[in-house]
């Protein structure tokens, strides 16, 4: 069995499972945010009307809640949704509710790793499509609709069809100007936005072993854009160290020990033979280049070196995809000592990242360059608020989608890119390879 099969077998109490088996799996963790939370509340109200008891959750200690899409409250309705969410968590006794303006909060997927809310080998579901992100910790992580989430909250389990696994092997180390974002854009360009439909996308090989946990998170995050059920990376010592550091940082010293296996299953076992996977793709890391995805699809990719010379209005460095600490660090390396020529917004994806960026001086680099630094929020990535695009505006963005209207007006245009490309482009005002900037220095 490959990694996903081992996790789903464990969670469904079977000795083995195969692709396309339907299994009823125990859920280890579940997440709601300020869009899916109110949606689930609505489902609860409806089924309560049908006589289904909704007075308690299966296990409030395994449920956590984030505030991210419309915070800081964009207007009255979103403020009311936040109030409704608070009422929900207090009614059901959910202790892990990350509230904006009260210490740590941020984009739900970022909180999942920054607060070590999900462990290797977990079955983790969330009311958001980018729940796939957290598979980078070695969990089976996927998004569900509101009704399915409501079911999980009441019963602690859900059925899955065991997905086939596509294996992406990265050989060698990425060049310093190429980021995980470039690799995942390249992959989506190769397989298309439905290339991973109802399949697992697993990443492995020496390039992934070399890669930081945050790079792996970027890869798994955008498996959603390839239509994948989930993305996953085999957990290793790096994963354990990353999580333990965050558990200690969160005052959980007593339990800061991460296990890479459970119930006899060792999830850190080396990835198996190619025959364990439905398809295997190979990428040579040293040959990869910075990539952009042009409007209006994440699959419209081409190397930055071949991108048209487009005049940009804005550079957006934010979101669960592109505003983790290392993303900000990479952008700051490019922006250090330079000035932005177009409007540039930097929104760290969680308060813990914001704080580190402040303490290490990254925020000063951004401000010195002329960029605006904003609070953690999904904000303009989903076109919700704070920096959305107007008609005909052109943006280069570290986010994950560039469908028409995704970041604002339906006639605005978004180019998806890595934090380094977004930062280099902020300096020149057109789509720019970070190497160009390095040479200019």
């Amino acid at each position: 069995m490959n990694l996903v099969e081992r996790i789903l077998a464990r969670a469904s109490g079977k000795s083995s499972v195969s692709p396309n088996d339907v299994v009823f799996a125990k859920v280890d963790r579940a997440m709601l945010h300020d869009v899916s939370g109110p949606g689930v509340i609505k489902v609860f109200e409806r089924i309560a009307g049908q006589g289904i008891p909704t007075d308690k959750l299966w296990d409030p200690d395994r449920v956590w809640v984030a505030e991210d899409h419309f915070v800081p409250s964009a207007e009255k309705i979103s403020a009311e949704n936040i109030a409704r969410l608070s009422e929900f968590t207090s009614r059901y006794g959910i202790k892990n509710h990350f509230r904006y303006g009260m210490g740590q909060y941020g984009i739900c997927h970022t909180i999942s790793h920054e607060e070590a809310m999900v462990m290797p080998g977990d079955v983790y579901v969330g009311g958001d499509s980018h729940t796939n992100t957290t598979g980078a910790l070695g969990a089976f992580a996927c998004g569900l609709g509101h009704t399915d989430m409501a079911y999980v909250l009441l019963n602690g389990e859900i059925w899955f069809k065991v997905p086939e696994t596509m294996y992406f092997r990265l050989n060698g180390r990425l060049p310093s100007h190429v980021m995980a974002k470039d690799l995942i854009l390249r992959i989506i360009g190769d397989i298309g936005t439905d290339g991973g439909a109802y399949r697992t996308m697993q990443f492995g090989g020496t390039g992934i072993e070399e890669m930081s946990v945050e790079g792996r998170l970027t890869l798994c995050n955008m498996t959603t854009e390839a239509g994948a059920k989930n993305g996953i990376v085999r957990p290793d010592q790096k994963t354990a160290a990353y999580l333990e550091e965050r558990m200690r940082g969160a005052g959980r010293e007593a339990t800061a020990k991460v296990s890479l296996g459970r119930g006899g299953a060792d999830y850190s076992e080396p990835d198996g033979a190619d025959s364990d996977y439905a398809e295997v793709y190979e990428y040579e890391a040293p040959e990869l280049e910075p990539v952009v995805a042009e409007p209006f699809s994440p699959e419209n990719t081409r190397p930055v070196s071949e991108a048209p010379s487009v005049e940009l209005d804005k550079s957006y460095i934010g979101s669960c995809t592109g505003a983790k600490y290392e993303d900000l660090e990479a952008a700051a390396r490019v922006l250090k000592g330079r000035r932005v020529r177009i409007r540039t917004e930097v929104l760290p994806a969680a308060i813990s990242i914001y704080r580190r960026a402040m303490e290490s001086g990254l925020l000063k680099i951004f401000l010195d360059a002329g960029a605006t630094v904003g609070p953690p929020t999904c904000g303009a990535c989903c076109g919700a608020h704070m920096g959305v695009l107007g008609k005909d505006e052109v943006c280069i963005s570290t986010t994950n989608r560039n469908f028409p209207g995704r970041m604002g007006h339906v006639e605005s245009r978004t180019y998806l890119a890595s934090p380094m490309v977004a930062a280099a482009s902020a300096v020149t005002g057109r789509i720019t390879d970070p190497r160009e900037i390095a040479h200019a220095a």
């Binding site: 464990r10 469904s12 109490g13 079977k14 009823f24 125990k26 280890d28 963790r29 899916s36 109110p38 949606g39 509340i41 609505k42 089924i47 049908q50 289904i52 296990d59 200690d61 395994r62 956590w64 899409h69 979103s78 949704n81 202790k95 892990n96 009260m102 210490g103 462990m119 009311g127 958001d128 499509s129 729940t131 998004g143 569900l144 609709g145 009704t147 399915d148 409501a150 079911y151 019963n155 936005t193 439905d194 439909a197 109802y198 239509g227 059920k229 969160a250 005052g251 959980r252 339990t255 459970r262 119930g263 989903c382 076109g383 919700a384 989608r401 469908f403 028409p404 209207g405 995704r406």
Partner: protein, 222 residues
């Protein structure tokens, strides 16, 4: 939920691939959580435009060239469209909008996974057909009949009084078919088997090695 057996109507053709949930219901409506009334936001940015008369009126008017605004498709209960329909976010609002508008079935060569799952929770049947067959349906001007019991899509041209001019077969997982045929809520459906599930779990020892609970939230400000 209303059981789904057979639905017959003209088919609204929306010949685009990769229609994402943001096109189906733009994000500005996600803050609303009532399940009814979403039909008016369906394909909002394609369906409406701001008044262009310079009056400063902020209200919107229907775009006459968008297919949903064409009188021919008023009351249509079947939408036909391209590959990977419903990709993008997990918002269930997308299905709420389709259902509220009156669509009972969507025919496409492929669907995005979460959207596909969400359909069954809301009485909408996603029908997967070969690309060539969907192409024919997109061009077809007669009535289409979707029969879930027989797992058939039947095409009736204007002169086809004796029977359909073409029949396409589709596949669907048996339990999903049951859910729609009986109009069952999937939650209610599963709860019918609560006892069996509990027994199965006891027998398979599905209790011992679950993850430890999450730690309590830290005090604010830490």
């Amino acid at each position: 939920m209303e059981p789904f057996r057979t639905v017959r109507s003209v088919t609204t053709p929306l010949d685009k691939i990769n229609i994402d949930t943001d096109q189906i219901v733009p994000k500005q409506f996600l803050k609303l959580v009532q399940r009814s009334g979403f039909g008016r936001y369906l394909f909002y940015d394609w369906r409406y435009e701001r008044r262009g008369d310079g009056s400063g009126d902020a209200s919107v008017v229907p775009r006459p060239d968008f297919v949903l605004n064409h009188p021919r498709y008023k009351g249509s209960a079947i939408l036909a469209t391209g590959e990977n329909f419903g990709c993008g976010s997990s918002r269930e609002h997308a299905v709420w909008a389709l259902a509220d508008h009156g669509f009972r079935a969507v025919i496409a060569p492929s669907f995005a996974d979460i959207f596909y799952n969400n359909c069954f929770k809301n009485g909408v049947l996603p029908v997967t057909l070969e690309r060539g067959e969907v192409r024919d349906i997109l061009k077809f001007e007669g009535d289409i009949e979707v029969d879930l019991e027989a797992k058939e899509v039947r095409m009736y041209g204007p002169g086809d009084h004796a029977g359909p001019s073409h029949v396409a077969r589709f596949e669907i997982e048996p339990h999903r078919r049951t859910v729609l045929l009986e109009g069952l809520d999937e939650i209610a459906q599963t709860l019918k088997y609560e006892k069996e599930i509990a027994e199965f779990e006891r027998e398979s020892g599905l209790t011992g090695d679950a993850a430890p609970p999450l730690p309590p939230d830290k005090p604010p400000g830490t």
